[in-house]
């Protein structure tokens, strides 16, 4: 962004950042933030009708998919740890899990659809609006 002096803009979100490197800055100065509820898009306003010198943003959100692919009805954190192989379940616990819950076969490489963990901007001018 062009600027001849140091400027600071604040943006406050009600939900938490969802992953590492959650903030991505586009070539045309839009900012995306991966959060718990989806991807927040911040677009700078440049309307001449603004009544102060501060930066103002339009905020929009790409919400997470309504349903995750958690078909097991397990709590989300348990499901996630099981899917991402980060759980510390013992053999017995796993056996119990398999008995108690209708676990569908685990497919290696299957996407755990719990939210957006990465966002990347396409090059400038790629869309129909030339943005």
């Amino acid at each position: 962004m062009m600027g001849c002096e140091k400027r600071i803009a604040d943006a406050e979100f009600s939900d938490q950042i969802f992953c590492h490197n959650a903030v991505q800055w586009s070539e045309d100065n839009r900012v995306s933030v991966c959060s718990e509820k989806g991807i927040i898009i911040m677009e700078m306003k440049h309307s001449p009708l603004q009544l102060d010198k501060k930066f103002h943003y339009n905020l929009s959100q790409i919400p997470n998919p309504k349903e995750s692919n958690n078909a097991t009805r397990l709590p989300l954190d348990v499901f996630r740890s099981w899917k991402t192989k980060s759980s510390n379940f013992t053999e017995d616990e796993l056996q119990e899990l398999f008995l108690d819950h209708p676990l569908h076969p685990y497919l290696s490489g299957q996407v755990v659809n719990l939210g957006y963990v990465r966002a990347k901007w396409s090059p400038k001018g790629a869309d129909l609006m030339g943005r």
């Binding site: 600027g3 803009a9 440049h46 010198k53 030339g130």
Partner: protein, 248 residues
């Protein structure tokens, strides 16, 4: 739990003079659309709020109203952006006779009319080039309203091919007042009926905007929803005709 706000720091990229020079170049370059330089416009706005005009030549253009029509649309849009920004600094008083704000407001509306005339020139050129002979009812309403809006303004724009467009239209048809169904009349950017009902006009079609409409994200101009004007070939641009902003 109270969340801490995320801070975004915008740091200087270039020294002052160089930044101003490149911003000025981008703002005056006819080939660079307004929608491609939102950051430059914001920089321009913030400089104006700090009391610095990075394009000093603009102040001369404000008073040279006779030259406006010969200027390119980009320059007119930048000039309008400039006046809209600076008029927010002028304190308003009740005495409109000597009020600088009222003068600035008058300048904005006069400038808006010139930009709309330029827009009409483009629309008419597209229409005549397409050699379209048959028109739908909506197209007839749009063209009739455009021609009615033009009445009394032709001398400002001698190159406008309004007579050729009139010849294409066999009948004229207009939109009624959406409330009382009496006839409407256009003045600058509003449309009103004898019973006092006033509507903003669509910046693309000049038709009155009543219940559903879009708004320009920059200058708050109105436009009819996209589905109402879909398929009208002579309305090629899908952006605010006044400032080039996006319509939502």
């Amino acid at each position: 739990m109270k969340r801490r706000p995320m801070h975004i720091y915008t740091l200087p990229l270039k020294p002052d003079a160089e930044t101003r020079k490149s911003a000025e170049k981008l703002l005056l370059d006819e080939t660079v659309p307004m929608k491609h330089i939102p950051d430059v416009l914001e920089y321009f706005r913030q400089c104006l709020w700090s009391g610095v005009n990075i394009i000093p030549s603009l102040t001369n253009f404000v008073t040279q109203t006779h030259k406006w029509f010969s200027m390119n649309v980009k320059l007119l849009r930048v000039l309008r952006y400039f006046i809209l920004t600076i008029q927010l600094h002028i304190p308003e008083t009740t005495d409109e006779g000597i009020n600088e704000a009222a003068l600035a407001k008058g300048t904005v509306s006069e400038l808006s009319v010139i930009i709309m005339l330029k827009y009409l020139e483009k629309v008419f050129d597209t229409l005549l080039r397409s050699q379209q002979q048959k028109f739908t009812q909506t197209e007839v309403k749009i063209l009739s309203t455009m021609l009615r809006w033009l009445e009394g303004k032709e001398e400002k724009c001698p190159s406008l091919k309004s007579e050729q467009v009139q010849q294409l239209l066999k009948n004229r048809e207009y939109s009624d007042c959406p409330i009382c169904h009496s006839s409407l009349k256009e003045e600058e950017l509003t449309s009103f009926c004898p019973n006092g009902h006033t509507f903003g006009i669509c910046c693309l079609t000049f038709l009155p905007c009543s219940t559903t409409y879009r708004t320009c994200i920059n200058c708050n101009s109105l436009a009819l929803p996209l589905e109402n004007i879909k398929g009208i070939s002579f309305l090629a641009d899908e952006e605010c005709s006044l400032c080039g902003g996006m319509l939502f």
